[in-house]
Symmetry: C2
Subunit: 316 residues, 2 copies
């Protein structure tokens, strides 16, 4: 039994609760897709590598372009069909990151990365899930224009949900990488780490890719042992989040730590230590005396840590 | 509140609880890997497409070959480092499926697919997780010998855990596809479906790939609606299983069905209907009066259905 903290109303988990209807059964119907695209209600998100192209709206920007508006911006790469929202087709359209960078010169546009959009609330919240869908899909296309089976140039088909090889007839589908992200807990202490990429004050959950031949639970135990030398027993699943950097599925868990001593993998981390619930509560609420922080609510790590901080019972 | 059935001791979930230590930090150390491979305790699993090569042992076969024994079988393709078991290195080695087929002529070998090995218990149970790891990895290599970014031939590096492109310097990592597999339940009824690939008596959980920009919970709801016209509310995670056919991570869930009427997607399914707990109990125990069955314990669907059948409370 460890203390419990009440941090107030639960914030929204970023990129989840999409209002898009994917209408997957129509992806193979080019005539239907063409009609959707030609309809006056059709809109597309425009993405250049890590950058999102927005119509400058002052505080809240508009991420939707008509297909003609998108074509007028710069040379485009792939277009993918995301689905419909309230009956209107939504697409994602790619350009090179250099093209998006060049558009920064235009005052009627606002060009920025998706992380900043999500954290600063620069578009209406409903746009975040389809932006995540579009960014993950377009990143995959940009890296998969050749057939991994024979090296030939592949064709985009099925509204962007498949690439087909004209030579070997291989079919290739968008990729999503499952990643475990976990808080190992031991009584009133939780294990956080720091990557060298983090801001100096930031501590977060450990994380790593699920490997072939591995369950989620085994991946949680392996990554915690590899990165921090902490063995884990029981694993408790919490929730998942699509994470389009570039195309992961984050699988959030608590894990039962079985030892205290930390042996940090210095190739992966620049810090790993135990924090009490009181410290984590302060870090989540951004009032820690030393200015230490945890990730913001847009990230699943915030919710994984917060669920433990707000819980009276041991997760296991 | 629906009735509860006790089906006896819980069976093992196939391909889980690997005894392999992956020793990921040594994958980038070619000298260490070479020494491991040269050690007298090193052994490899030999896989040709869908077929596994075993040493014929009568009832229980031996799936382990020394590296020299493997080389003597047929021309080999990739070799991947799986990890160590009790300190001894374990590898997976590929050959073409045609080569494995040709080995069926030898009486000292036994050549069969992994599903049959798992269902019939043809090797010691400890071998199933590393066989799954090796099969998923080798399938990925066989389909990824070319760079999806530029079309050049790639090199296998890091003990098989990466392919590197000498031209564009792209790096490619083994792929694992997250798949949701779920039982939608409504009181005393659970929703099962039949694919055209199934044996005529077999009914199982609905399933589908998690898509870019989608949480597990949203994927469960989307797939159940798409395949059977059943809307779902709450989703309850159960457990996961690596499933090397060819390289999926099965994410098992219960889902709260919100309507009764089924509208089946005839492109995906040849049957979809509600079964009571009593029927599912009989199907799991293979004593259904009409001979209907559910998948065997090696498959996660068995455990998803069984967990519900054996539960007294609603999962939500």
């Amino acid at each position: 039994m460890s203390p419990r903290y009440d941090l107030g109303p639960k914030p929204h988990l970023g990129y989840t609760e999409s209002l898009i209807e994917r209408v997957a059964e129509r992806r193979c119907d080019p005539a239907w897709l063409a009609a959707q695209s030609a309809h006056s209600s059709a809109r597309t998100y425009v993405i250049g590598g890590e950058l999102i192209v927005l119509k400058n709206g002052g505080d809240i920007h508009d991420p939707l372009f008509t297909p003609n508006e998108a074509r007028a911006l710069a040379p485009l790469t792939e277009t993918v069909f995301l689905g419909t929202m309230n009956g209107a087709a939504r697409f994602g359209t790619g350009m090179t990151q250099a093209s998006a960078d060049a558009l920064k010169a235009r005052n009627d546009l606002f060009i920025i990365d998706l992380r900043s959009i999500a954290i600063q609330g620069l578009v209406a919240a409903d746009h975040l899930p389809p932006l995540a869908e579009a960014k993950a899909m377009l990143h995959w296309h940009a890296r998969h224009r050749f057939c991994s089976n024979c090296g030939a140039t592949t064709d985009i088909v099925d509204g962007g949900w498949k690439r087909a090889c004209p030579d070997c007839k291989g079919e290739h589908f968008p990729r999503t990488d499952p990643v475990v992200i976990m808080l190992a807990v031991r009584g009133d202490k939780g294990l956080l780490g720091r990557s060298g990429r983090f801001a100096a004050s930031m501590w977060s959950c450990l994380a790593g890719f699920v490997e072939p031949g591995e369950s989620v639970e085994d991946a949680v135990r392996r990554e915690t042992l590899e990165e921090a030398g902490v063995r884990c027993g029981r694993v408790s699943y919490l929730f998942t989040q699509p994470w389009p950097f570039p195309m992961s599925l984050m699988i959030g868990c608590h894990a039962e730590a079985l030892n205290d001593d930390i042996v940090m993998d210095t190739n992966e981390l620049v810090g790993a230590r135990w924090f009490t619930k009181a410290e984590c509560a302060a870090m989540l609420m951004r009032n820690h005396p030393e200015g230490l922080t945890c990730p913001p609510p847009v990230a699943i790590a915030h919710h994984i840590i917060r669920t433990w901080v707000e819980s009276e019972r041991d997760p296991f």
